[in-house]
Amino acid sequence: MPWLAVLIAFVGFAFIALPLIGLLLEVPWGSLRDDLTTPEAAAALRLSVVCSLWATALAVLFGVPLAWVLARVSFPGRSIVRALVLLPLVVPPVVGGVGLFYAFGRDGLVGQYLYDWFGIQLTFSTAGAVFAETFVAMPFLVITVEAALRSMDRRYEDAAATLGAQPLTVARRITLPLIAPGLVAGAALAWARALGEFGATITFAGNIQGRTQTTPLAVYLLLESKPDVAIGLSIVLLAVCVAVLALLRDRWLGVG
């Protein structure tokens, strides 16, 4: 019986591992440098770095206060708000993209005013790609930071208050440093997710080289015409994910 379990486990493991091995075997190591410096690849990589860092920054900027409210403020409908915030974790990114289109597109709920009043058009713009990535990435940040806020010993905040610290000082000097590991982990997860974002980006922002064509979009587009470049870009994304996993290994893989 244990042998049967081991056998099935091995099949499961192979199922996960084989595509990665297949990818690694196809990597044109000799020409990798040239492949990654082609105009399409360079533009996609540069855009991915810019967009994913912006998305991570926005996710932190809005996600930390959001996590704080969810963890510390008791209000009716809190569980519904939390469910909505975490929905992008499970919603198909394409659906998210469609939603973004009808919210922030040129004729969208908010987008029409952005366009009419400020002349801002998010669709087919780099800002649109950033929006799409933020949409899918922020839940990772919120869920991780909220867990960190809930598990920290709040008596440290009490101690700081009795020492005369105003609420903002308590947040800056006590709460944030104490949840820093959770914040770093959440930001790393959000960044990795933003970097790999495909469906929402292509649906909402389009696929314009140098403007909205991030690395995953370029991989998809080039797989037919320039497979070596596509594989090279894929291997870069894979390496980033491995690096993020390594960063989070203490927390998630139980290795200390």
Partner: protein
């Protein structure tokens, strides 16, 4: 300087209703079992919990009146030494001590200099750069006290200041803490469940049970006339309730005690465990109070053994270890308890 707190609040199953007054230079211990509301009371004074009714006044200034006035913790002139000390783990010892001054708008350099001075006075100058986790329990306590006192508060609150320390180190650290408390000029209030801390550190005890004050007084007063079985156990004496009639006290079990004084009505009778002798056979002799019972619990306490005897006259007896082995006292052993009428103190309930 003085503290007047007369307050009531409900928190979960706790119904706290207490009045505590304390004067400058006085150390008051709030003593009580777990869940009695001691820590909640401290949190109210610190501004970390609010009250339903009553008022908290420090030096004539109202801090909380359960309505229009509530001074938040960061604006109260109150220093707190928390249970487990709660030194900020990510800051150095120096930054911990400087935190209060920094938060109150003192410049970084000046706050650090003041913190360094106070660490110097405490003999901890060499630990200034350490992180709190590198400190011993006693050092943590001193740093926590220095941190709480750095802003020169007028009321100092200590929540179970000895609980986080090794049993072996407590004696010396208690004396040290007493000396440090004496150097603090304001009102001092400490919460503890340990009567030894209370006896060593406080001038006056306020005993809280289930959210209510059951007794107030010096340790000697409380020990002489405990007003509840918790207090009696706390100070290590037997407390029996009964109805007195002449020189007899009738217990709820029907048994009677012979007491030296002639009183009447509902009374407490106190018997010190050292006055209680144990016998395997029914003793005959001068002790007028003799009762049969069963050994319920045997507990070694230093060079003495405390034996809890159940029966019509439930008592704790304190005997030597050799007596325990000679009499073969274990749980379930039938024994006779005996004590003289003159060893009983009777006072009205």
């Amino acid at each position: 300087m003085s503290l007047h707190a007369q307050l009531a609040l409900q928190l979960g199953s706790l119904d706290l209703e207490v009045t505590v007054d304390a004067d400058e230079g006085e150390t008051v211990a709030i003593l009580g079992p777990n869940g009695a509301g001691k820590t909640t009371f401290l949190r109210v004074l610190a501004g970390l919990a609010s009250i339903d009714r009553g008022v908290v006044v420090l030096d004539g200034a109202v801090l909380d009146d359960a309505g229009s006035v509530f001074v938040p913790p960061e604006r109260r002139p109150i220093g707190v030494v928390f249970q487990d000390y709660l030194l900020f783990p990510h800051l150095s010892v120096l930054e911990n001590v400087a935190f209060g001054l920094r938060s109150r708008g003192v410049g970084r350099a000046e706050a650090r200099r003041a913190a360094a001075d106070s660490l110097e006075r405490l003999g901890l100058a060499d630990r200034a750069a350490s992180k709190p986790r590198q400190l011993s329990g006693g050092q943590s306590q001193r740093v926590a006290l220095a941190r709480a006192m750095a802003t020169e508060p007028r009321l100092l609150l200590l929540d179970e200041p000895m609980a986080a320390l090794d049993q072996s180190a407590r004696g010396a650290l208690r004396r040290e803490l007493r000396a440090q408390l004496a150097s603090f000029p304001g009102v001092r209030l400490l919460v503890t469940h340990d009567p030894l801390d209370a006896a060593a550190l406080a001038d006056r005890l306020v005993i809280i049970e289930r959210g209510e004050i059951v007794q107030v007084g010096t340790f000697a007063e409380v020990a002489a006339r405990p007003r509840s079985s918790y207090v009696a156990e706390l100070v290590g004496v037997n407390l029996l309730q009964g109805v007195a009639d002449g020189d007899h006290v009738r217990l709820p079990s029907g048994a009677t005690l012979v007491a030296p004084e002639v009183v009447a009505g509902d009374v407490f009778a106190v018997v010190h465990p050292r006055s209680v002798a144990l016998h395997r056979e029914e003793p005959t002799g001068s002790p007028r109070n003799v009762a049969a019972g069963t050994v319920e619990n045997v507990e070694l306490l230093g060079d003495r053994v405390r034996i809890r005897v159940s029966g019509p006259v439930p008592l704790v007896a304190e005997v030597t270890p050799s007596a325990v082995s000679e009499l073969g006292l274990v749980e379930g052993t039938p024994v006779w308890t005996a004590f003289k009428a003159t060893d009983v103190t009777v006072f009205p309930r």
